[in-house]
């Protein structure tokens, strides 16, 4: 009976039934079958009010939406353009990565930065197809950089130290940007695009323009790494700072637009948190029933090597990444995978980086990667055009993923250095 219900719910989910209702209903049914009062599901929901870490989610999301609605993307591109003379492709990659780290939700980057960058890239002489692929790939680049929400959410769900994750994401994140930048440089050379000379006047002028935004990453990351502020306080600081800078100083956002921004950001927050609330009940049940351990035992019968396990994990996560958005994928899959991966000797911090890199790539994997649809919508191009445009980027990212997966040191070296 319960099997039938689960199948029905999965079919409904594939047709767009909200994920939280799917999780919630399965949890209710499982508890009911065990003869446990269904209010236990609600007990798990209430644990949302139990973690200081979750406080970061609404605050960072709000700050991200403030940046997206202001002229920050404009100033960020101008500044990166002055600082990175290697051509606009590199500028696009770097500025999108920074923007994504602070806004978290992947689609926002393509919407906010893409419209700005595409005409500029075309004007500089880059090929249109290359540009579309580049911007689609940039949409999720930067998820590994602190203080990205997916990193925080992984830390919460997997109960891994956020400080460790923030350190672990740095080198792999830079690695991904460098790999794509090298490709961008090569294409730039080949297509003979315009390349600006480095000029201190331009740097100074761009710096002056963005003078209020430049200190923020240093303030937040410096504060967290030095232990002066907690992640929760860093989130409050970022929101306060974004509010002060964009509304009072730059006046990019008039006061009358604030309610709309609150509404948009809180809708996203509600969407994420309600899934988390419902999934907590379900994962509590699964863990009580020792499902992850059974899964591990079953897998160990067929798999003995950690390397083969990692390969299968990558394939599995790529599929998950192109079917689900990053938040629900984290909430649903992490509790099941972490015990299994630990059983195979994978470090949970390294696993987090593998996880997010996979989901990042899943976003641009045809046929259903979310970034492809957002780009198609934003740039008014058929999705098929984006499939072909993103292939080179997809292949490069897959190669980088391979390196990140099989060389745990890239993720762990900074964590170990900080630990010692």
């Amino acid at each position: 009976m319960i099997g039938l219900l689960v199948i029905l719910l999965i079919v409904l989910a594939l047709f767009g039934m909200p994920l939280f209702t799917v999780m919630g209903t399965i949890a209710l049914a499982l508890f009911h079958r065990e003869g446990i009062n269904i209010s236990s599901v609600a007990v798990s929901m209430y644990t949302l009010a139990g973690s200081p870490l979750l406080v970061a989610i609404p605050l960072f999301t709000f700050a991200g939406y403030l940046f997206a609605h202001s002229r920050t993307p404009d100033r960020l591109v101008r500044l990166s353009r002055a600082l990175f003379p290697g051509g606009l492709a590199v500028v696009a990659l770097v500025s999108c990565a920074v923007f994504t780290a602070f806004t978290g939700a992947s689609g926002v980057t393509i919407i906010a930065m893409g419209g700005l960058l595409l005409p500029a890239l075309l004007k500089d002489g880059y090929n249109r197809r290359f540009n579309l692929g580049l911007l689609t790939a940039s949409g999720s680049l930067g998820l590994l950089f602190p203080p990205s929400l997916p990193l925080i959410l992984y830390g919460y769900v997997a109960t891994v130290s956020i400080d460790d994750l923030f350190l672990a994401g740095l080198l792999p994140g830079i690695f991904l940007v460098v790999v794509l930048s090298l490709y961008g440089l090569w294409r730039g050379r080949r297509d003979n695009v315009v390349r600006e000379r480095m000029s201190f006047r331009k740097i100074a002028s761009a710096m002056r323009d963005a003078a209020w935004e430049v200190p923020l990453p240093f303030l937040v990351l410096g504060g967290i790494y030095s232990g002066i502020i907690t992640v929760m306080e860093a989130a409050a600081l970022t929101a306060l700072y974004a509010l002060a800078v964009e509304v009072l100083i730059y006046r990019d956002i008039p006061l009358r637009k604030l309610p709309g921004i609150v509404q948009e950001s809180m809708t996203l927050v509600g969407g994420i948190l309600v899934i988390l609330a419902c999934a907590l009940g379900l994962t509590n049940y699964l863990i009580d029933a020792q499902i992850p351990m059974q899964l591990l035992g079953w897998m160990q019968q067929y798999l003995t090597s950690k390397h083969v396990f990692l390969l299968l994990l990558n394939v599995f996560l790529l599929i998950v990444g192109c079917l689900m958005d990053i938040f629900s994928a984290l909430i649903v899959v992490v509790p099941l995978i972490v015990p299994v991966a630990t059983g195979f000797g994978v470090d949970p911090v390294h696993l987090g980086i593998i996880f997010l890199t996979n989901l990042e790539i899943g976003y641009l994997t045809p046929p259903v990667g979310l970034n492809l649809f957002i780009s198609s919508y934003r740039f008014n191009e058929p999705v098929i055009a984006l499939y072909t445009a993103s292939v080179p980027f997809l292949l490069l990212l897959l190669a980088a993923l391979f390196v990140i997966t099989y060389l745990p040191a890239i993720s762990l070296v900074l964590v170990r250095l900080a630990g010692s």
């Binding site: 409904l12 989910a13 594939l14 047709f15 767009g16 039934m17 909200p18 939280f20 209702t21 799917v22 919630g24 209903t25 209710l28 269904i38 209010s39 236990s40 599901v41 609600a42 929901m45 209430y46 949302l48 009010a49 139990g50 973690s51 200081p52 979750l54 406080v55 989610i57 609404p58 605050l59 939406y65 926002v108 919407i111 419209g115 929760m232 306080e233 989130a235 409050a236 600081l237 929101a239 306060l240 604030l258 709309g260 921004i261 609150v262 948009e264 809180m266 809708t267 996203l268 509600g270 969407g271 994420i272 948190l273 309600v274 609330a277 079917l323 689900m324 629900s328 649809f373 919508y377």
Partner: protein, 190 residues
């Protein structure tokens, strides 16, 4: 008891649908909507202010507000619940939804109806579960912080889920359909 609650949710949804169709009391509902938004904005403002204050107090005065932490944590719960019911209104819940794109246009209203009905039913049962929690907690009588008992703070859970159930029913009866791919499109345009 649960049948009565279900009846009320359905009745309210029917009344609301009739009002929407006849375009009656629009001002009242706009006002209620802005109250909901104001509550979320207030909580967000509270979180920002308390978080900022804590940094200053802890680093410069070696102190802090004792109740700031539980207030901020409960604000997350409340904002999450308010946001989730807003997401139902705006058809912006996170979904997997790989197949809808493949459906031919004439079948889509049917798909919307099934999804709204299933959502309303699921949210109703989740609301009942949350009501059960509140009742148990009330009998227990624990204080969360200040004058607030835990059950009072938990009230948002059944409220939000029943509201989601009601709103999904309204979506069903008004035939609300496809959602835009992303909400951020408005406003980012220059």
């Amino acid at each position: 008891m649960s049948a009565a609650i279900g009846g009320i949710v359905v009745l309210l949804a029917v009344i609301r649908t009739i009002l929407i169709r006849r375009r009656l009391l629009e001002g009242l509902f706009r006002f209620l909507g802005s109250l909901e938004l104001a509550a979320a904005a207030l909580l967000l403002g509270l979180m920002v202010t308390l978080g900022g204050l804590q940094i200053v107090l802890r680093n410069f005065f070696h102190g802090g507000i004792l109740w700031a932490d539980p207030v901020m944590r409960h604000s997350v719960l409340w904002i999450g619940c308010l946001g989730a019911s807003l997401a139902t209104c705006r058809l912006q819940h996170i979904t997997i939804d790989v197949f809808t794109r493949l459906l031919p246009e004439p079948v889509r209203p049917f798909r919307h109806a099934v999804v709204h009905l299933a959502t309303a039913t699921a949210a109703f049962f989740l609301g009942l579960a949350a009501l059960g929690l509140v009742a148990e907690e009330r009998a227990f009588g624990e204080i969360a912080f200040g004058v607030f008992s835990t059950w009072m703070l938990q009230l948002i859970l059944p409220f939000a889920f029943l509201l989601i159930s009601y709103r999904s029913l309204v979506n069903l009866m008004t035939g609300a359909g496809d959602r835009p791919p992303l909400s951020t499109t408005e406003g980012t345009e220059p």
